[in-house]
Symmetry: C2
Subunit: 228 residues, 2 copies
């Protein structure tokens, strides 16, 4: 694995790796032991050539006449994605979207644990948010909102490497700068604005308007192509 040059792996291939992992986990829940590249591809509408090419960036996984061993491939894909260990994640922004992210219970199963929440609003700082509606008795997650002045200390003390940014667009760049200064290595940005970060910092963006544009493109043409 140390030979891998992640900068040479196309981003779409890494994205598909996540999709393969979801599908493999689904196969395992159905007690499947092995799967071929064709079966894995078909379940996600990819060709078997695409599956083999994507996996080949990371090594040799298949067994002739057997295909992939589901357990083995899950473990290796998790190792590649880095989710075979637990990542501590912090959140900046305790507004509506921030609350949704605090309440979201799908992170833990994927190897991510939200451990700290920050906001600039004095009315929120020091207050506890959670437990959240719909949470199970076993899941009593709650967070005391911290001021941005504690960002660096908390990040270092808790060994946090990843951050989710859910602040208004006009505050996003300043907060991103402070995250980088605090030692954060990867940022998931929900603010509808492009961020400038040093090239060694991983950056992913969820722009809701972009998502809707992709839909309107498809819905637009499916309307055109239907008979009137």
């Amino acid at each position: 694995m140390d030979q891998l040059r992640p900068d040479l792996v196309p981003h779409p291939a890494v994205r598909r790796l996540s999709l393969y992992l979801r599908q493999l986990e689904l196969f395992r829940r159905k007690d499947r032991r092995t799967v071929s590249s064709k079966q894995l591809g078909q379940s996600l509408s990819f060709t078997d050539a695409q599956v083999r090419k994507d996996l080949a960036y990371f090594g040799q996984f298949g067994h002739p006449g057997v295909g992939y061993r589901v357990d083995d491939l899950i473990a290796r894909v998790r190792h590649i994605l880095g989710t075979d260990k637990i990542w501590s994640v912090l959140l900046v922004g305790a507004g509506n979207l921030g609350r949704a992210l605090m309440a979201y219970n799908g992170f833990d199963a994927k190897g991510f644990r939200l451990v700290a929440v920050f906001d600039a609003d004095p009315a929120k700082i020091g207050k506890r948010q959670g437990p959240f509606p719909g949470s199970t008795p076993a899941d009593k997650r709650s967070f005391v909102i911290q001021p941005l002045s504690q960002l660096k200390e908390t990040t270092e003390k808790q060994g946090i490497r990843l951050a989710i940014l859910a602040v208004p667009a006009d505050a996003a760049q300043e907060v991103a700068d402070r995250l980088v200064e605090a030692g954060i290595r990867g940022i998931l940005n929900f603010a509808p604005v492009s961020l400038n970060v040093p090239h060694e910092i991983a950056l992913n963006a969820v722009d809701l308007a972009v998502q809707l544009e992709q839909l309107s493109f498809l819905a637009n043409f499916s309307a055109l192509s239907r008979p009137a």
Copy 2:
């Protein structure tokens, strides 16, 4: 445009079209009149060949010795994406994420208008949500939560084509089926589960765990490649 076969355009090219549009709008705010494929590409870390290839799926846009006219290209990309008209959008799910989406004020500028919100919870139905904290005096958006039994009637009456799904994973497929039956043509899914919809329905998913996995992949290897 009617000659275009949208099913032959690769999804990543459509996604980049959204990015080109954001960048072109930024150029226009800075009073730029024209831009070359090289300049447009550089601003987004793409090659000029990539820009030309993506745009070539949709027609001939450049002018020799001038490049692209910014206003003209914005108008044409919006037309391709279908955002030169206003799309009415409905939302199912008035929980934390749903509230964040109701409060989000970035949709209107992109040609999307949230016009109706549905939920299955009798405690929420009939109640008004909003105006939202942080909204401007001019923006007094609020929504009366409707029951799912009104989905079809509202969709037809208001000519809604796009839906955002922000419900728990175990309810998502059933709601998706009802959306399709109600005449919805495109679904943006936030539930962490794969949906089955007829092939003529556009489907886009925002899986938060997948987003974080992409980050951990990059942060993982940037850690490995740093000297210890």
